[in-house]
């Protein structure tokens, strides 16, 4: 099963609107997916007998920088029966300053791995995941202000009145 065959499976199943692009520049090609259909795509890739991407290796939230004004999530899937790896990417435009956090659909109903990974992305990058069962901060305290992995994050000087050196 090659990268193109996987792309064909997705196009045949969902039509042309779901795979919005691809990246072949680096060592690992990636499929760009329409953000709204990520859950369906993951479920299809997991359950399709030709792919069986049953293992979510990693889920990374990404702030593409202030200049580009984009936020994204990258999914690294692995298929244990076929020993394949696949990268999926979704991203939306968001300037980071608005009151609304950038929001994506949660894939934790497909991969339970995503539960904690999405909490981590919410915690460190301020990405909201719709439909997540328990989206609390995971690594930082519940009352932490700001999202440290954002590119425009300013290091806090005080935490609860205590000066941070």
């Amino acid at each position: 099963m090659t990268f193109d065959e996987i792309k064909d499976i997705l196009t045949a199943r969902f039509g042309n609107d779901v795979v919005v692009g691809e990246e072949r520049g680096g060592l690992q090609p990636a499929l760009l997916i329409a953000p709204d259909s990520i859950v369906d795509v993951c479920r299809e890739l997991r359950d399709n007998p030709k792919t069986y991407f049953d293992f979510l290796s990693s889920l990374s939230g990404i702030d593409y920088g202030v200049d580009s004004g984009r936020f994204g999530v990258v999914y690294h899937l692995a298929s244990m029966p076929y020993r394949l790896q696949l990268t999926l990417k979704i991203s939306i435009e968001h300037d980071g300053n608005a009151d609304e956090l950038p929001s994506f659909k949660s894939v934790s109903s497909v991969y339970r791995t995503a539960d904690w990974h999405e909490r981590e992305a919410y915690d460190l990058l301020g990405i909201y995941f719709e439909g997540h069962p328990d989206l609390r901060r995971i690594l930082l305290p519940d009352d932490w202000e700001g999202y440290p992995l954002r590119k425009d994050y300013k290091t806090a000087e005080y935490y609860k009145g205590i000066k941070i050196d």
Binding site: G25, L27, D54, V74, R112, D134, L139, P148, L149
Partner: protein, 400 residues
């Protein structure tokens, strides 16, 4: 920037209400963060009904140092000491995966001298043995067996001494560098290492007689904390945790990186010898068997390092070190088998600077721990301790 939107607070409110109502109906019990059986600073909030655990809520982050933030502000080479501090019981494995990822992005992974590759595998496997010895020893002490703990630490100390001799540090080595090594192995290392292996083999037999086949230990661990294979995969468990559930999945064999394709070793899996496949005893046994496999790898590495890849006066492990580490613009996910499972680094390089634009680490312990609330539902509190020990997580890697 303070985000004012009630939907971001919903989950926190739900959690607070759950704890408030549970303190009326049931009892809320905190295990940790300062409890020895949590193996570090992990806090587990238990909702208990008498002796039965109704729910486990893990609280992480007591050891959080934001590795990813550091990695975004330091060069690839400077981040290696920070990877050491993730899984500090198997630092060599962490830096090995990090270094391999950068080398592949630079396209120099095929140019690494064979001797360097074999030294890397040698130190990684020694470190894996040390890490599994801690897992076994502390697991014994969780269950109430004190002696195996002392025996394991005694033998581990020999490995720490060996690695200190090579790198100058006991636990946090900074030994594997991009394109090479810090130094060649010290003169006499191979011979001393072989002595250790000869000393160590009978010790493992003794340890098995003392702990693995101990009826009290079996009663405490067999049929406890059963993790079915499908659940393990769905939760992203890897390493001994996944292999304990019966799946032969070892990235050293799947991805065939470094010198592993040339080495002969088996991948032990849980067979349910004492109870059910995927119980605590199986996970423990997989680690014991993996030590034996690692010993085999170490011996093969020593054979090659003393024969065809013998040290020569002009061999320089830093010869292939790149002057400037600036990968071209790309992103790359590198995964490798750490001592706890699939360790992954996701790099985004912008092609201009020596600093990664984004470096995400996927710690095996983080994912292995996430399955705990699922398998600890409805067990006794004493069994919960047995389950925690069998997961073998390191908080430095959970919290990063």
């Amino acid at each position: 920037m303070i985000t004012v939107n009630s939907k971001y607070e919903e989950a926190l409110q739900r959690y607070n209400e759950k704890i408030a109502s549970a303190s009326v109906e049931d009892m809320v019990l905190n295990v940790g963060p300062q409890h020895p059986s949590t193996h570090g600073v992990l806090r587990l909030e238990l909702i208990t009904d008498g002796e039965i655990v109704k729910e486990v809520i893990p609280h992480l982050g007591y050891l959080h140092r934001c590795f990813e933030k550091h990695a975004e502000s330091l060069t690839y080479q400077q981040t290696i000491p920070f990877t050491d501090r993730m899984d500090y019981l198997a630092s060599m494995n962490n830096s090995h995966v990090w270094v391999m990822g950068v080398e592949r992005m630079l396209g120099i992974d095929k140019d690494i001298p064979k001797r360097v590759e074999y030294i890397r595998v040698l130190v990684c496997e020694l470190n894996r043995i040390a890490s599994h010895l801690i897992a076994i020893g502390t697991y014994g002490i969780d269950i109430g067996a004190f002696t195996p703990f002392l025996w394991c630490f005694r033998d581990r100390e020999h490995i720490m001494g060996l690695l200190e001799w090579a790198s100058g540090s006991r636990m946090l080595y900074n030994y594997i560098w991009i394109g090479g090594l810090y130094y060649d192995l010290p003169v006499g290392f191979e011979e001393r290492c072989r002595e250790f292996i000869e000393y160590f083999k009978p010790k493992m037999v003794e340890l098995n007689q003392l702990l693995t086949e101990n009826q009290v230990f079996i009663d405490r661990t067999a049929n406890v904390g059963i993790l079915p294979m499908d659940l393990a995969i769905n939760y992203g468990c890897s390493g001994p945790m996944l292999r304990g559930s019966g799946l032969k999945w070892d990235l050293r064999r799947i991805d065939n990186y470094s010198a592993y394709p040339e080495l002969d070793f088996d991948v032990p899996v849980g067979k349910g010898e004492m109870g059910t496949v995927g119980d605590c005893w199986d996970r423990y046994k997989v680690r014991v068997d993996e030590i034996a496999e690692s010993v085999k790898i170490v011996e093969q590495c020593l054979d090659r390092l003393q024969k065809e890849l013998k040290r020569t006066p002009d061999f320089d492990p830093r010869a292939k070190l790149p002057r400037k580490i600036t990968p071209k613009a790309q992103d790359y996910y590198m995964r490798g088998e750490g001592s706890k499972g699939e360790l992954g680094f996701y790099f985004i390089a912008d092609g201009k600077s020596e600093v990664p634009f984004r470096a995400k680490s996927r710690g095996p312990s983080f994912n292995n721990l996430s399955v705990l609330p699922e398998i600890a539902k409805g067990v006794m509190i004493a069994d919960l301790i047995a389950i925690i020990g069998s997961i073998d997580f390191v908080l430095g890697e959970v919290d990063r």
